[in-house]
Amino acid sequence: MADYSCLVVEDSPMMRQLLVFALARIKSIAVTEAEDGVDALRKLASASFDLIVTDINMPIMDGLKLVKRIRSDSAHKDVPIIIITTEGSTEDRQRAMALGANAYITKPIQAPQVIAKVRELLSL
């Protein structure tokens, strides 16, 4: 039985698999996957999560819109959110953090960096 649950929102199956693998290195985390922002909101409606990891560039609903929606929902407004994206500019980072993201990691990812950030946000 995992102590923490994490929602991974990523439209690339390759990246999703890589993130799930990285998060599996933390024994106490159970991971749920979503393919885009809308899929993520469906999953959030039926379960609560201790952490959300999301891409920005996704079809249907992008990651920034998702972050904004999550932060406006009282049920999830305090859940830590990590953005993982190819967008590396300072402006993109500032925009994401202003919307309420807790961390911003650029691709290509290094799993140890993601794991360290997850441990930090969940105080593991």
Partner: protein
């Protein structure tokens, strides 16, 4: 006269003299002296007792002090022993900290190696997970963008004597001209089958002078090239896994494309396996 005196002397010597007064006086004197002596002895005894008592007290104090000194010496010895133990424990603790740090560093290395292996496994499994040509191309582009961090790249296929662009990201495919075999970096890699990778991906290049050119090999023949012009700005150096990914792409991408291309000509999986037994015999 002499007769009188003689007579007196004779008379004195015949009559006993009364010495009782002398005797009493002597005895009184003797007793008095005896009392005095006794009193002196008693006084002396009393003084000696007092002195003895004092000496006994001093002795007890001295014994106590000696015992206390012994106790202090014991404590000092014990302190020294504990100090030695403390130094040993501190040394041991420092050693353990160093070992722990080494283990931590090794753990970080292992985690990185695991991550790199995961990259390679995921890249390979996705490349070969589909028999759709578009699917293979999509996975190839995704791999380059998401795992390598390629921002502008093109995938060329050798058709006759020219390399023709069949996929790209960061630029319109229609904007890409064909490259004669042997011409420029891409043409040379196509001809030699030898990859050309800059030491660092920054500063970026162009499709004519890419930062990485990777031949797509089928056995010993190059049938295509992946040319990476630029990578994302947040990638200042190649990761260790990048060169392994390039090797994987070089040896697997063309195979995946060929399999998908052949399968595209078949109506279904069953017929795609027709003739397999003949090849095995």
């Amino acid at each position: 006269m002499n007769d009188d005196s003689e007579e007196r002397n004779r008379r004195e010597s015949d009559v006993p003299v009364d010495l009782s007064r002398e005797r009493e006086s002597f005895v009184r004197q003797f007793l008095k002296q005896g009392v005095e002596l006794t009193e002196n002895l008693l006084e002396e005894n009393k003084a000696l007792h007092s002195q003895l008592s004092e000496l006994r007290q001093q002795n007890a104090l001295l014994r106590a002090q000696v015992a206390s000194d012994d106790a202090i010496r014991d404590l000092l010895r014990k302190i020294e022993t504990l100090e030695t133990e403390r130094r040993t424990l501190l040394d041991r603790s420092t050693q353990l900290e160093e070992t722990s740090k080494e283990n931590q560093d090794r753990n970080v290395e292992i985690e990185q190696e695991l991550h790199d292996l995961a990259n390679l496994y995921i890249a390979s499994s996705h490349l070969h997970s589909t028999l759709s040509v578009r699917g293979v191309m999509r996975h190839l582009c995704e791999l380059l963008q998401q795992l390598v961090g390629a921002e502008l790249f093109a995938i060329y296929l050798l058709r006759g004597e020219e390399a023709i662009a069949i996929g790209a990201d960061g630029i319109e495919l229609t904007a890409l001209k064909s490259i004669p075999q042997g011409e420029g970096v891409v043409g040379e890699v196509m001809m030699t089958g030898v990859p050309r990778i800059n030491d660092k991906p920054q500063p970026g290049g162009t499709l004519e002078t890419p930062v990485a050119s990777i031949p797509l090999m089928v056995r010993d023949t190059a049938v295509g090239v992946i040319a990476i012009a630029t990578v994302f700005a947040q990638k200042p150096v190649w990761a260790a896994v990048d060169r392994e990914l390039f090797k994987l792409l070089s040896s697997h991408a063309a195979t995946a494309l060929i399999a998908a291309n052949l399968y595209a000509k078949e109506p279904g999986a069953a017929t795609a396996l027709d003739g397999l037994m003949d090849h095995l015999n």
